[in-house]
Symmetry: C2
Subunit: 242 residues, 2 copies
């Protein structure tokens, strides 16, 4: 029997932000593959199934295990935090299955950015860039160039992977670049653990961002020149007359 | 009794791409407000409720009706296609409720862009810009500037509102700008009616985009310099060694 591989974005964390399609894919799967932390978030759906965990840096190993199980005729869900198409597992899977006879279905999800935005109010709303500050797979020079161009274009900017042990000062460099184009008062939202335990939400001016706690589970959304803070919410007007 | 207003992103269209949270919000609401087309997509959840439709250009009127109902102590869902925080209703609502005593909850969703990406394969994956080509609320000069900067930064670029009757040639101008920075072969995905009736998915080189059918229900995703087409899927490698 031909195997089936679902690449399932489970959203930011809380179970009620799963889509119905994601829930059904996991329920009908025989094998669940994913980073332990994400599998734990959907464990109620996984009872009685084969579960393959692996560690954070073993992304490609996980993809290969999921594909191998599907090649053996199994129905498999590879679970991914957020949306698997945004800095996630959809890409490596699509590359690895090129010459294999497996049905693959990517299930879109609520991304970390969408979840963080909703918690902040309406900070995105308009033309928008996402940039990852991780240089593990991208040269820092290119990241820096993109930071300049995004700020020059007055885009709303979301920063993924803003800080890790190996590169604690990249966020400092990013803020420094933004301040060349944006005012120090530019409204900025910092969401840690969006829709997970220990969630925190801070709205602060751009030049005060570095005073806040920032880690790998943080999304930072920097407003455009029209973004305002109102009643502890971050709002980027679209331009409607109200 | 204090009213409650849910701003509910219903995702791209198919009911199984609703989140569980969105479904519950609609189910517990007494009043549903939304553009007819979107309310129709979730009509099974709306039986027995007060439904207020209005026309496409009456966004602000819909927000005000929803808020007025919540001020009267009702539980209200304002439904929005895609994610309400991306070119949607979250912004106007947050601006309009500033001085009112209503609980507002924004429910994040699968955006049109996330849905289109999953249908194409894994086209986004990396640093990414979204730009709307509608000049109804944004001066064309600013849109044009953003098109230049996004292309110069080799971002993956999603175009929203690529074409309407009033401005049929903006997409031509956008492609012309992109071709100053990107090769004619740059892999481009065109998704019409993602996860709705009459869905169509095309992958084509950038210089052939204008030969395809494009309308207001189309999302166009232009790859970066590493994006490839493989087996009729669009893949932007993240950079992993596979």
């Amino acid at each position: 029997m031909k195997g089936k591989l679902f690449v399932v974005g489970i959203g930011p964390g809380k179970n009620d932000l799963l889509t119905i399609r994601a829930q059904k894919a996991i329920e009908q799967s025989e094998v669940i593959v994913g980073y332990k932390f994400y599998v734990e978030l959907v464990k109620e759906l996984c009872e009685g199934k084969d579960i393959v965990n692996s560690f954070m840096t073993k992304e490609i190993e996980r993809c290969k295990i999921a594909i191998a199980n599907a090649e053996n005729g199994k129905i498999v869900s590879l679970v991914s935090g957020g949306d698997s198409g945004f800095y996630g597992m959809a890409g490596p899977v699509m590359e690895l299955v090129q010459r294999k006879d497996i049905d693959v279905e990517i299930i879109p999800a609520v991304s970390a950015n969408n979840a963080a935005a909703a918690l902040l109010g309406a900070p995105v709303m308009h033309d928008h860039c996402s940039i990852s500050l991780s240089d593990r797979l991208t040269p820092w020079e290119l990241i820096e160039k993109r930071l300049h161009l995004a700020a020059e274009g007055d885009f709303v900017i979301s920063l993924y992977n803003p800080k890790s042990k190996g590169r604690p000062d990249f966020i400092n460099k990013a803020v420094e670049i933004f301040l060349k184009y944006k005012t120090p008062e530019t409204v900025t939202g910092i969401v840690r653990n969006a829709e997970r335990e220990n969630q925190s939400i801070v709205i602060t001016p751009l030049d005060k961002v570095l005073q806040e706690e920032i880690d790998m589970f943080t999304v930072i959304i920097i407003g455009n020149s029209n973004t305002r803070e109102v009643n502890n919410k971050m709002i980027t007007p679209r331009g409607y007359k109200l």
